[in-house]
Amino acid sequence: MADRDLLVGEHFIHGDAACAEGAIASGCLFFAGYPITPATEVAERMARRLPEVGGVYIQMEDEIASMAAILGASWGGAKSMTATSGPGFSLMMENIGLGMMTETPCVVVNIQRGGPSTGLPTLVGQADVMQARWGSHGDYGCIALAPASPQECFDLTIKAFNLSETYRQPVFVLADEVVGHMTEKVIIPKREKLHILARSLAKAPKQDYLPFDSSGLLPPPMAIAGQGYHVHVTGLTHDERGYPVITAEVQERNVRHIVDKVRKNAQRIIEVDTVGLEDAEVVVVAYGCTSRVARQAVENLRQKGFKVGLVKLITIWPFPSNLIRDLSKRVKAFIVPEINYGQIAYEVERTAQGDAEVLLMALMGGSIHTPSEIEEAVGEYL
């Protein structure tokens, strides 16, 4: 094979495998993880593929160590990734915070299953949405992408790597069991059709380089281990050189920077798919596998002449607040089907500020909505 990094062509693979291929296509050369249903197949594929492309796969003792390992690999110069599900995601939270504070690019794939705790190992859930946003202590900006098909698993894992390099932080691929285990055609294009962002490395003279410079809205290039720069990397509040400075003033600069780089660039990061918003009176907001059910329901209703629209969240975080806020001024209601007991529904409600009704269609996990359930819920408002 000419290019082992890129299996150009059409494949019939599941979402987990497509996440792995997206990582390989992005140039990921390090994976550390601990197997967990329904994310095991990501690790399995990486274990097979990384040795083929000169990368390193390590099965760690647990998810805490897995997260630590990919942060270390990233500072060693490798694009790195881990994959897990709810219980493992909980264990990773401490070191996800370390990654946010140390501005370390990496990708964390979470194939969500039903929780809390060990919950429903083999069955679907979408209940880690708020955990992805707020799960580690302290303030930080969050980027989370929600694929709805194996093709999107491939495409959005690449996008996650690119965003992690641009914003220098862990980025989440927040899939769910249905998407992770669903098998469909995935087209892997030729290299020239892909947009892959390479690691931006420090070039400044050693005495001038500031690894945590926060004067701009984007973080500076990284100096990786072995490049010759003296870099101190710490989870403590640090100045622009990376040295711990435990003062309110430095904390103010440090935290504002790691929040604002996402918050103030949100419009650049946000991606949604929409259907029928031009005339919609009721809008369904959905993501992941649920967005496919919603799409079917919306198309069925529009065929019958009902004015209903769809906002499919591709980036769950940052949340498309401006879009929802604008829509709330002219639609009657938002319908939010999700496989949890209310997470994004509350974000929609908060953003709509009472200008439109918000109906949560909650499923606790283990099954997905049907199109007719969503059609009925929409019908209540038309």
Binding site: F12, T37, T122, M182, T183, C289, R295, P371
Partner: protein
């Protein structure tokens, strides 16, 4: 085949049900250039628990990924009959491994075929190809995906070195299916 077609294969873990669904989906998706979604359901057990493989095939984009009412239902265990027996569409095709599934009464409004897939596989000396024998029968009886596409998908999905044996299993199932139609 026109429009949307739903196929469900069900049995117990270890029978190769999931692989069979994967092969069917791959044949439709890669070799017949239709849209196909393959999903699976299974419990925490590695073997013995009930499992199903669902394949939706369509000329249109498939949004809703799951099977609602299968046009073709393939059952390879008595337990699967209990769990999935009632899900089939009126007028659908029910295909049974006749040594493993028995019906209390003949269902009305369905076309029922019986194929001894596991027995044929055992006669070949390897019970593990029962799923491939059944796929051959489904190809002949279900009218979902063409013979050549299925054969390519089988060859593409099994361990190297086992192609001849698997294709011979597939052909035995296909011939048996054809014999039921004549």
């Amino acid at each position: 085949m026109k429009g949307k077609y739903e196929v469900r294969l069900a049995g117990f873990g270890g029978q190769g049900i999931i692989l069979a669904g994967h092969i069917l989906g791959k044949a439709a998706s890669l070799f017949e250039k239709k849209n196909a979604v393959f999903t699976q359901s299974y419990g925490p057990e590695a073997r013995g628990g009930s499992c199903s493989a669902d394949v939706v095939i369509s000329d249109e984009t498939i949004h809703y990924p799951k099977v609602i009412e299968p046009d073709v239902l393939v059952l390879m265990s008595q337990g699967a009959l209990g769990t999935y027996g009632n899900s089939i569409k009126d007028g659908g095709i029910l295909i049974l491994d006749e040594d493993l599934v028995s019906l209390m009464e003949e269902p009305s409004g369905l076309t029922v075929y019986r194929a001894p897939a596991t027995r044929i596989a055992e006669e070949m000396g390897k019970r593990i190809v029962a799923n491939i024998v059944m796929l051959g029968a489904v190809t002949a009886l279900g009218g979902v995906v063409g013979y050549e596409s299925m054969k390519k998908a089988v060859t593409d999905s099994i361990p190297a070195g086992t192609e001849d044996f698997n294709i011979s299993a597939f052909d035995k199932g296909y011939e048996y299916g054809k014999s039921l139609l004549s």
